[in-house]
Symmetry: C2
Subunit: 365 residues, 2 copies
């Protein structure tokens, strides 16, 4: 009886194995389909396969290497109630140095993190390497931490061009003769980051500089509630008053302004390649600076129209960028970077708004 | 002996099942890891999860919703030998009408299709709906067809703004008074498409109009071999000579040109919002048009420097776009769309080149 038992056992074993195998195959198929549908409806980027891996094992198995993705740009809403409408916000940060306070503040933003994608670009130099390492450590920690803290996705890019000035020292950085090269390079970094991370499903882009260390946790929804194409809070800096020894604050970002006849006159006499800079004694523009318009702590929602904007914190409807508005690395109407961006947006029909009493704070170096 | 046999069989079954189960589990894990690494190294877009699905089944299972992707833009090569270096080409086509000949020509391009991503944008009107349906049918057919024909990925977008002129009739479309609105709208479409599909790993962008129905199959590698930031072949049109009844060809695209003192003089007297248009008797610019420079069939590689470019077929190094060069929907130095793009690229330090004897052909309406 030993001989016939073999086949019998074997056959029974086969049935059980086949059943379990079939279940597991269904499980695998579930993942394949799951994955396929994710890719085909979500990733708006045209290049979704790794270089040097033209035909992946998976694509051979499922018999199709090429997901087709369709987007109706009408279906991406951009509304004053972005949480209710589950709108995706892309926070973009060019980063030369990593400040822990920046990250801590970012984590505290109470816009649902599963709707926030992060994009960073860092220079390819020694300082950039250190910042990248520090950033990656925090990203890893957060993305492995409590679910509510984890962001939708994180992209970290390294620049493929050198920054013009090696020193991030504040004095050196702000010298007027270094400004054009510095801000042109910053524009290129912003554009690289923007062009490679903006998707068809992005509703809002929040530009947030790496040295912004304090904002209200409700920053995104507060700004979005104004329903403006470009909106910018007032960037201040906390310090200790040397005379009184008490905490105080002072205006920091002077790039948000309303134009003046003097500045326009100045521009009309300039070479098209020259740029007007704000906040320098050598070049008095008599523009109305938002930095000096903060007057009422309790009227945070007061709006002012702006002609130039700073990029320390700046919320932009994604359609403004999709229309083509970028950060000119060249003199554009004698303006550059974020100020040139506001001008370009205006040329596209999108006006800028400022919130003089809504403050965010810059790191004090 | 019947009773003890049961457990014995069962135990044996268990071993076999466990082994098979373990293998299948490893298989599943392979897919999970495979999938994870795909996402984390390939999709350069920050928004890779579908809207209204903040926490997917998969992310719950693998305990992390948020892939972190790192890119070193230095590692994306852009070389004269893009096939050897496995460089990804993004072909972008704004499409108002679908021509089968366009698709047939696209399929015939012999650049490895697994390195070609396609991006389309179509207007949201009746004609756009028809074109979308026809395009989708062909995309589906190709992506399910022979592996060598299948493209790396395909994105189809629908515009969220209305085209200014409803008729795609050639006469109406080319009327001088309709040109600014038409080309401004075209610029917005190009920018939307570009900003949402360009990735960190894209090396080249080939702009290819939907009415280009004949190109050499080696178009991409031929143009890339010149190693120029922007390069444009000569766009002609085949027709039947009414006098001889024989096949003939004539220049079609007049947007590729070298600037002239007359045009510069014209611009200097214009309102900054006005645009200079090429190919209209009413506005003689005396620019040197590449359309008329084709002289030698056998010297396909002759290069000429250009100041304005057309977009019927136009190969651009992705870095030019990543730097910020886009298609101005507004008058930019009195230029618009692709001609404005060439000017903007030049402002960024990237010059345009034309190949007068290298021809591509436009549909004959």
């Amino acid at each position: 009886m030993a001989r016939p038992m073999g086949p019998v056992r074997l056959r029974r074993t086969n049935y059980v194995t086949l059943t379990i195998g079939a279940c597991l195959c269904l499980f695998i198929l579930y993942f394949l389909v799951q994955d396929g549908s994710d890719v085909s409806t979500s990733s708006p980027n045209a290049d979704s396969h790794p270089i040097r891996k033209p035909v992946t094992a998976k694509s051979k198995l499922i018999g199709d290497r090429s997901p087709v993705r369709r987007f109706n740009l009408n279906n991406v809403t951009i509304t004053p109630d972005p949480i209710e409408n589950q709108e995706v916000v892309l926070i973009l940060t060019p980063m030369a140095r990593f400040y822990q306070e920046y990250w801590d503040n970012l984590i505290k933003l109470d816009y649902p993190h599963e709707l926030i994608s992060l994009g960073f670009i860092l220079p390819k130099n020694k300082e950039g390497n250190a910042a990248t390492a520090a950033l990656q450590a925090q990203v890893t920690k957060t993305q492995k931490g409590p679910l509510k803290d984890r962001f939708r996705s994180v992209v970290i890019e390294r620049q493929d061009f050198d920054p013009p000035i090696l020193s991030q020292d504040e004095g050196e950085r702000h010298k007027i003769e270094n400004q054009k090269a510095r801000r042109s390079s910053m524009s290129r970094a912003r554009n690289s980051l923007l062009f490679t991370t903006l998707g068809a499903e992005t509703s809002w882009v929040l530009w947030l500089d790496a040295d912004i260390i304090e904002t209200p946790p409700s920053l995104i929804q507060d700004l979005a509630a104004h329903d403006k194409p470009l909106i910018v809070p007032n960037c201040y800096q906390r310090y200790t008053d040397p005379e009184t020894g008490k905490p105080a604050e002072r205006p920091y970002d002077f790039n948000s302004w309303q134009d003046s006849p003097t500045a326009q006159e100045l521009a009309s006499k300039m070479d098209p390649d020259d740029i007007i800079l704000e906040g320098y004694r050598e070049m008095a523009t008599y523009r109305a600076l938002m930095a000096y318009m903060a007057d009422r702590v309790d009227e945070r929602d007061v709006e002012v129209p702006l002609d130039g904007v700073g990029g320390t914190a700046l919320l932009v409807k994604a359609d403004v960028h999709r229309d083509g508005a970028m950060f000119p690395p060249f003199a554009f109407y004698n303006l550059i970077e974020t100020e040139g961006f506001a001008k370009m947006a205006k040329r596209l029909g999108w006006a800028a708004t400022g919130l003089p009493n809504y403050k965010v704070y810059h790191y004090n170096e």
